[in-house]
């Protein structure tokens, strides 16, 4: 079965290609085929997992050679699959959550005329993401890496008749490319210093890398990871990416694609282990982004953008964990998996809420929705508890491990990282609770369409309703995961043991603070966050329009001026440069050529005056020629 692992990728890819090529002819059944493909991919993946489980832990790293892909002399790259616990974890996450989201989308996109195309893109995404995680070399990983970027571009801009959405899609792709550039340079350096870009080759030789080279490669890989995972400083695209249909946000911009950066860092363990500085930077980036994202999430009234900030923040946790080295890898992946479930659940729940509210994403126009959307409320609540880390929900297990690990180490680092993780947990509790209360509790800030209230009522008219089964069912499944996964995966060795063949066996040293202290502190802070949010948004009335807010709030609303910074540092100078160059190309570069031509013509116009038509002047020219030649000769000879 392991040899057939390529089917995991091939099935959704073929389905996607088929749907795109057939065009309208497949409109009627396209969504079903796509969903089936996702499920089939999951089934194949599951069979592979079962077979790998049958292997002894040491044998579980399987390299499946497919074909010789780029045989270019010194650099020969094979297309092959790395089937090991790490990649299979992702395969399971991607195909399972992916399948659920396919199902959900059947309902969510019912009314969209281009639903078939949407599913084709979703399949394409799944296939690309699977390539990314199953690749056995950085080069092939890059194929998936850019492939998911493309799928993300297509799906963010799915409704690109809205120019803002098209711009958001482009922004996402371009910022991702900045990260990709890092990846390319990293591969170039690997080739230059190690002569290979395959995982096995790099892993084998990485210990021989000089520290500066390893650091450079590590930082460049981190740059790639930042782009894909929306980490500082390449985080600005994620909020805008919410322009895509909500299932897309759930699948790509919460559960799977954005976690690819974490995958990359864990996968590149051999590089990072040789580059402590790069590891430290990684941890710093993670710690910073987890706070940044959390702050942004607090400031947003748009439910999806708030969730996007939250995603950024949660991935910050993972990156922080990954940056801590082998001791954190397993927890990073653990959190990644649980996050995949509860965040997808939250997004899909948000999607249901939007669906019920005429596609409005403004939480200030929600409120009191619990009564009309009981299932959604329940699932959302579960996922909410999971993400804020309330025991025994999934997030508690995974996040708490990260917080504990963050406190491991020497010097200032454990205090800073641990502190950030702790504070982040509190803020997470606050903003998630805020979202939950603003949406489902308090007074309704909308009026029913059927009500007889006067037209001067500022509240929007809505007709909220529970979503159909095809949409609620996947959310329920995700919610079950959000409840149970943490506990299940930490049974016994759990996920740590499962991943050990990849992440290596590590002894877990004691944190600088005793574990119970950390645990208590976390829970107290989380409780405080929830309480604060309840006071603000559960008990009090939420104004329909946002109050001015503190400078911090205002900054958070504007993503801490990320767009302004990008604009001032890159976009506007770039536009100036472009305009200057376009002008210079015509005026200077081409001007030199046309100038030379014009000069020739001008000299012709001058010279033709000599040809004045008078025979006497012609004779003078002849004579002058002779005389001058003779005179010069005599001068020279004398």
């Amino acid at each position: 079965m392991i040899d057939l692992a390529w089917l995991v990728v091939a099935i959704p890819l073929a389905s996607s290609a088929l749907l795109l090529l057939l065009g309208r002819r497949s409109d009627a059944w396209g969504h079903l085929l796509a969903t089936l493909a996702a499920v089939a991919s999951f089934v194949v993946g599951l069979l592979v997992v079962l077979e790998v489980l049958g292997q002894s832990p040491e044998e579980r790293i399987n390299d499946v050679h497919l074909f010789s892909w780029i045989p270019a002399g010194e650099l020969s790259i094979d297309a092959g699959l790395r089937v090991d616990p790490l990649s299979l974890t992702f395969v399971m996450l991607i195909t399972f959550v992916g399948s659920l989201i396919h199902v959900y989308s059947i309902g969510y996109m019912t009314h969209d005329p281009a639903r078939r195309r949407f599913f084709a893109y979703l399949n394409l995404f799944v296939a690309a993401m699977l390539v990314l995680v199953l690749a056995d070399s950085y080069a092939l990983l890059f194929v998936g890496w850019e492939g998911v970027g493309l799928a993300s571009y297509l799906l963010i801009g799915f409704w690109n008749h809205n120019t803002d959405y098209a711009v958001a899609a482009k922004k996402a792709f371009v910022m991702n490319r900045v990260g990709d550039m890092g990846l390319i340079v990293a591969m170039g350096l690997m080739f230059a210093s190690l002569g290979t870009v395959s995982f096995s080759g790099v892993d084998a030789a990485a210990s021989g890398l000089s520290t500066p080279m390893a650091t450079a490669i590590g930082l460049l890989l981190l740059l790639g990871a930042c782009g894909k995972s929306a980490q500082f400083p390449l985080q600005a695209w994620l909020g805008d990416a919410m322009a895509g249909p909500t299932p897309v946000s759930a699948l790509i911009h919460a559960a799977t694609m954005v976690t690819a950066g974490v995958y990359l860092i864990v996968r590149a363990d051999s590089i990072f282990s040789a580059a402590p500085t790069a590891q430290l930077v990684t941890a710093c980036v993670g710690a910073f982004t987890l706070l940044l994202g959390a702050a942004i999430a607090c400031g947003k009234d748009d439910i999806k953008k708030s969730l996007a900030g939250s995603t950024m923040s949660q991935i910050g946790y993972m990156v922080l964990a990954a940056g801590l080295g082998p001791i954190g890898y397993a927890y990073a992946i653990f959190h990644l998996v649980t996050h995949g479930f509860f965040k997808a659940g939250l997004f899909l729940g948000a999607g249901s809420v939007m669906h019920a509210n005429g596609d409005s994403t403004d939480m200030r126009t929600y409120g009191g929705l619990r009564k009309v959307m009981l299932v959604t409320w329940a699932t959302f609540a579960v996922c909410w508890l999971a993400i804020i880390g309330v025991p025994p929900f999934a997030g508690f297990y995974s996040k708490d491990k990260i917080i504990e690990t963050a406190f491991v180490g020497e010097g200032w680092q454990p205090w800073v990282f641990g502190g950030a993780a702790l504070v982040g947990a509190a803020v997470t509790a606050f903003y998630m609770s805020r979202m939950f209360f603003m949406t489902f509790h308090g007074k309704a800030r909308w009026v029913d369409e059927a009500s007889k209230l006067g037209a001067d009522d500022p509240r929007p008219r809505r007709h909220p309703h529970e979503s159909p089964l095809v949409m609620t069912l996947p959310v329920v499944v995700l919610a079950i995961g959000a409840v149970s996964l943490g506990f299940l995966l930490s049974l016994g060795d759990g996920i740590t043991g499962w991943l050990e063949p990849v992440t290596g066996h590590v002894d877990h040293p004691e944190p600088v603070l005793p574990v119970p202290v950390i645990l208590t502190a976390t829970l107290v802070l989380v409780a405080a966050g929830v309480a604060l949010a309840w006071r603000q948004y559960g008990m009090n009335t939420v104004p329909l329009t946002a109050p001015a807010g503190s400078p911090l709030t205002r900054a958070a609303r504007r993503d801490f001026f990320a767009d302004d910074v990008n604009e001032a540092l890159a976009m506007r100078p770039g536009q100036h440069l472009t305009r200057t160059l376009v002008y210079a190309d015509t005026a200077v570069v081409d001007g030199a050529v046309t100038g030379a031509a014009a000069g020739t013509v001008a000299s012709g116009r001058v010279l033709r005056k000599l040809q004045n038509g008078y025979v006497r002047s012609y004779a003078a020219m002849i004579l002058a020629g002779v005389v001058i030649a003779g005179a010069v000769l005599h001068l020279v000879r004398l």
Binding site: R608, Q611, L633, R637
Partner: protein, 527 residues
């Protein structure tokens, strides 16, 4: 009492010249005595058969001479060698196609020449002559005499012969220039300019002859060459003399600064005459220059070469730059011929070993394109309101859209222009290439560099004519008020001439091996 020693004259070597001179004399007799109605046809037959016969004679002499039979005769005043014969061959080919164009008539029956040269333009007399259908058939013997002068030019191994041949080739051309049927005022003006400047430069030439004679006590090249290596005194005088002689010859090829007549005369002369003269005079004069330089002047090379460099560079640049700003097709071609004089000079100025054959190939390539291009010009005509064909449409803007109306003719013109521009697979390219190789071999790198620069600029105006013909719809023309040109159907003779020129241009570009081999074994000077 001394016994009479008859001069040794190798009459056989003179056969080609004698054939042409004889034909010329015959032509004069025909003009005098043949009935008017049949005069023209007889003249045409004579004028076309004579070069053909002479070509046969050259071929015969070739088989006799090349590869060991070279000699000088008449006391070393004439030379019969491969170079001269090859040049004669080229001249006779030019004459054949040139005369064919010269003899052509429009569908209406009018030829290129005034019906009565003695009549004043616009006079009643002229009108009467036109109505009477008179024809100035003397043009054929005149052209033949000129051709005879050119043939001798290539053999001249002595300054006296050179001078006489120079005059023999020039005087008929002055007359021919004046005989245009239309725009006669321009034609006469051109003749006057040509004549006055020609005579002026002949005088300079002659003074140079006198100085060289004073220096070496002889007029034959061989003696001058020997004197140059032997004697020590007075070589300043000799160099000035040589320069003045070269001036007379460079005047004929139209090299800067002795070129000023070229555009005026080429424009004013009857177009078939322009074509013939541009090709043949240049070929003959270059042959004479080459022989002079290679045989008489090696001893002065050190002194003369810089001057020739300047002339070559100036010719290429001035010719090119001025051609760019022209608006008349004949003037454009005239300036282009000035530039080509410069290119041809490049091949020989540093007296490289391969220079003479490169020069001859260049001239052959240039001649095909020149005769062909001017033949096309004769066919592109204006029409009056009644639709009758009138004068040539020489303003460039009138050529707009010609390619759509007469694609084949325009394609032929394009071919000639591309050959001028030196695009590969045309004769012009190989001409340039061999010339550059020769020059580079002789170390004249700067000349090659300038030649390349000039070629780049020159491409512009050749290409521009193609733009007008093929890419410009008539309504896009810059000067819409001008009358549009219409191509008339070429007569049989012109058609043949065009086909020969086009085929020559193509064949020499694609498969030049036979010609190159021929020239390689031929281009030796007998001393």
């Amino acid at each position: 009492m001394t016994t009479f020693q008859p001069p040794v004259i190798d009459w056989a070597a003179l056969t080609p010249v004698l054939v042409i001179v004889g034909a010329g004399v015959l032509g004069v007799l025909v003009a005098a005595f043949a009935p008017a109605a049949r005069r023209r046809s007889i003249q045409v037959v004579v004028a076309l058969l004579a070069p053909l016969a002479a070509l046969g004679a050259v071929a015969w002499r070739w088989s006799e001479v090349v590869g060991g039979g070279e000699s000088t005769f008449v006391a070393g005043q004439l030379a019969e060698d491969g170079f001269g014969l090859a040049a004669q061959m080229i001249l006779l080919v030019i004459a054949l196609v040139g005369f064919a164009v010269l003899a052509s008539r429009l569908p209406g029956g009018e030829d290129a020449f005034t019906p009565q040269g003695a009549s004043a333009p616009g006079s009643a007399y002229e009108e009467a002559a036109r109505k009477a259908g008179l024809e100035q058939t003397e043009v054929y013997p005149l052209a033949l005499f000129s051709l005879a002068g050119m043939l001798v030019f290539t053999m001249a191994n002595d300054l006296l012969v050179l001078f006489v041949a120079l005059e023999v080739l020039s005087l008929p051309l002055y007359v021919l220039t004046a005989l245009a049927r239309r725009r006669r005022v321009l034609s006469q003006e051109a003749a006057l300019k040509y004549f006055l400047l020609g005579a002026f430069s002949s005088a300079i030439f002659l003074f140079g002859v006198a100085l060289l004679f004073g220096y070496s006590a002889s007029l034959t090249y061989a003696d001058i060459g020997t004197a140059a290596t032997a004697s020590v005194g007075m070589d300043g005088m000799a160099v000035v003399g040589l320069l003045m002689v070269l001036t007379g010859l460079l005047f004929k090829v139209g090299a800067v600064p002795f070129h000023a007549w070229v555009p005026d005369v080429y424009q004013g002369a009857p177009t078939p005459v322009t074509g013939f003269m541009a090709a043949a005079t240049k070929t003959a004069a270059f042959a004479a220059i080459a022989r002079l330089l290679y045989v008489a002047a090696p001893g002065f090379a050190w002194d003369v070469e810089p001057a020739l460099w300047v002339v070559a560079i100036a010719s290429m640049l001035v010719g090119t730059v001025l051609a760019i700003v022209q608006t008349d097709i004949k003037r454009t071609l005239a300036y282009s011929s000035v530039a080509h004089a410069g290119f041809a000079l490049v091949a020989i100025v540093s007296l490289p070993e391969g220079g003479p054959d490169a020069l001859l190939f260049y001239l052959l390539a240039y001649s095909f394109a020149t005769v062909g291009a001017f033949a096309v010009v004769t066919l592109v005509r204006e029409r009056d309101d009644a639709g009758n064909v009138t004068g040539e449409a020489t303003h460039l803007s009138q050529w707009a859209g010609l390619g759509r109306r007469s694609p084949v003719l325009a394609a032929a013109m394009a071919l000639f222009l591309l050959s001028f521009a030196g695009i590969p697979l045309t004769a012009g390219f190989l001409g340039k290439f061999t010339a550059f190789v020769a020059a580079a071999d002789g170390g004249a790198w700067p000349l090659v560099a300038v030649a390349v620069l000039a070629s780049i600029a020159a491409a512009f105006f050749y290409v521009r004519v193609i733009v007008l013909m093929f890419f410009t719809r008539p309504e896009e023309s810059d000067e819409p008020q001008r009358q549009r040109a219409q191509a008339v159907a070429p007569g049989a003779l012109t058609r043949v001439a065009l086909v020969v020129c086009a085929a020559g241009t193509l064949v020499l570009g694609v498969w030049p091996t036979p010609v190159l081999d021929l020239l390689a074994q031929a281009a030796r000077f007998v001393v």
